[in-house]
Symmetry: C2
Subunit: 245 residues, 2 copies
DNA sequence: CGCGGTCTTGATACTTCTCAAGTCGGGTGG
DNA sequence: CCACCCGACTTGAGAAGTATCAAGACCGCG
C-alpha cells in the first residue's frame, strides 16, 4: 500500500535520531556535571523522597522515566509530572504536605548532588537546573492545559503522543514504544478514571490507529491520524520532540 | 457570640501580618536586584508576551497579580498559573506554541531583566529565579492535584482559600479579599464551566460560609468551616500563607 | 502451568456541561 | 446625582460525558 510508505516517510521527520540535536547538547552539559555528582542506579518503583527538613538535594535523570506522585488521604493518587533523561529533579520542587515522591517508573540512573550549590563549580549545576526547570515548567503548563481544556479522548491521545515522541522508535508497523506507566498511573496523570481510560484505548484499537502487542507496548499505526486526535499535539511536539526540523 | 471571637483569634494565626516573615526576606533579596532591573508599571489587562525567537527576558513581580493564559484555537482558554508579588516570570517558561502570555490581573508593577544572566552580578538573578521557580513548580503541582483529584466544589473552595491566604485581610466580619479574576478566569483555572462555578459559589453563600458584598469582593465568614471544604487546603496553606506559625 | 494482579467491559448513576432566558452591577453620560 | 446600558453573572432544565461497581478475561510472573 503506497500510503504506508508515505506515512513512514513522515515519521523520519517526526521521531528523534539517536545522538543528534538536543540530545548531544544535553550530553555535553552533563559530562562536566558528572564529576560533581554521584551516580545512582534505581530499579523501577524506587523512590526519591523529600525529607521533612529543608533539602537542597538535586537529582539529574541520566536514564529512565520518573513520575512525581502525591497521595492525600481519602483522595485518589495524583501524578503531578513526568521526568525524562536530562531533567533536573530538585527535591525542593515537590510539595511537602502529602506523601509525595519522585518514583522511578522504569529502571533508571540518576546523578545525585547535595550541598554543591554553594561551591564555585556549583554555578554550573544552578544554571543547568534553572534551564531544566524552565523546560519542565512549560511542560507542566501544557499538562494543565490538557486537563482543563480537553475531553477524555483528547487527553489520552496527548499522553500517548508524548510517549511516542519521547520513547518511540519507528519500525515497519508504525511508531512503537513501551508505556512506562500502569493504566492507573496514566489515569491519575490525566485526571481520568482507569475504566474510562481503558475504554478509550480500546476505541483507538478498534479504529485501527493503535495496536497493543503487549500490556505495556503500543504501536501507533497511523501517525498522522493519531496526531490529529488532540488539538494540543503540535504544542506537545514542540516540547517533547528531540530533533528539530 | 463567643464563637465569633474564637474564630477571630484563629485568624490572627492564619493571615499574614504586613512586613513580617517571608515578606521581609523577599524584600531584602529584591532590594539588591532592583538596581539591575528596570521597574515597569502595568495596568490590569496588559500582557507580557514571549517573542517568537528565544528570549532570556525575566520579570519579577513587585506588586499585583499575574495570570499565565493560553488560548488554542477551538478550545476554551486555559489559565495555567497565578503569580504573586515576589515571583520570577521568565518568559521562557511559557509554552510558545499557542497564544500564551502573562497578563496583569490587577494594577501591577514588575522589574524587567534582559540579558543580565551573563553578567557577574547576574548570578543573583539566576539564584533568585531558581528559588522562585522551585516555589512556583510546587504550586503548579498542587494546581494539578486540585484538578485531577477534587470535585468542583472542592476546587472552588481551594482557589478561594488561596486568594484569602494571599490577598485577604481579617476584619470584623471575617476574611475579606478582592478576587483578581473574573468568573471565567476562575473557571478556566479550575477546569470548570463558568455556570457550574457560579452555582457552587451561590451554594457557599446560601450556606452562610461566604459573603459577596460586590462583584469582585468576598468575605469568608467561617474560616474553619470553609477551610475544611477542601482536603488540599492544608497543602495550600503551606504554599500560600506568608507567615509561619 | 497455575496463580495474582491488572486490565476490560457492561449497565447504571451521578456530576458537570450546554444553552437559553433573565438578573444584576457598575461605569458612563446627561 | 441619577438613570441608563452593556457586559458579566445567575439560574433552570435537559443533555452529555464520565465515574462507579461488579463480573469476567487476560497477561505475565513465578
Amino acid at each position: 500500500m503506497k500510503r504506508t510508505a508515505s506515512r513512514a516517510g513522515q515519521l523520519i521527520d517526526v521521531l528523534p535520531r539517536p545522538g543528534e540535536g538536543a540530545d548531544a547538547d544535553r550530553s555535553a552539559a552533563l559530562a562536566t556535571l558528572e564529576t560533581l555528582g554521584t551516580a545512582v542506579r534505581l530499579r523501577s518503583g524506587q523512590k526519591l523522597v523529600r525529607p521533612a527538613e529543608a533539602s537542597d538535594t538535586t537529582f539529574i535523570v541520566k536514564e529512565g522515566v520518573f513520575v512525581s506522585e502525591a497521595l492525600w488521604p481519602g483522595l485518589r493518587s495524583a501524578v503531578l509530572a513526568l521526568h525524562y533523561a536530562g531533567d533536573a529533579l530538585p527535591l525542593a520542587a515537590l510539595p511537602q504536605a502529602a506523601a509525595c515522591a519522585a518514583v522511578a517508573a522504569t529502571q533508571a540512573e540518576v546523578l545525585r548532588f547535595s550541598g554543591t550549590t554553594s561551591l564555585p563549580e556549583g554555578r554550573q549545576l544552578v544554571e543547568y537546573t534553572l534551564s531544566s526547570l524552565l523546560d519542565q515548567q512549560a511542560r507542566m503548563a501544557l499538562h494543565i492545559a490538557m486537563i482543563t481544556t480537553l475531553d477524555a479522548g483528547q487527553r489520552v491521545a496527548s499522553l500517548l503522543t508524548e510517549f511516542a515522541l519521547r520513547l518511540g522508535r519507528q519500525n515497519g508497523r508504525g511508531v512503537a514504544f513501551d508505556v512506562p506507566l500502569s493504566r492507573n498511573g496514566m489515569a491519575d496523570y490525566l485526571g481520568l478514571n482507569a475504566d474510562t481510560l481503558s475504554r478509550i484505548v480500546s476505541g483507538f484499537k478498534a479504529s485501527g490507529l493503535v495496536e497493543q502487542p503487549g500490556r505495556h507496548r503500543f504501536i501507533i499505526r497511523d501517525w498522522k491520524g493519531f496526531f490529529a486526535l488532540s488539538p494540543l499535539n503540535t504544542s506537545i511536539d514542540h516540547l517533547h520532540r528531540r530533533v528539530r526540523a
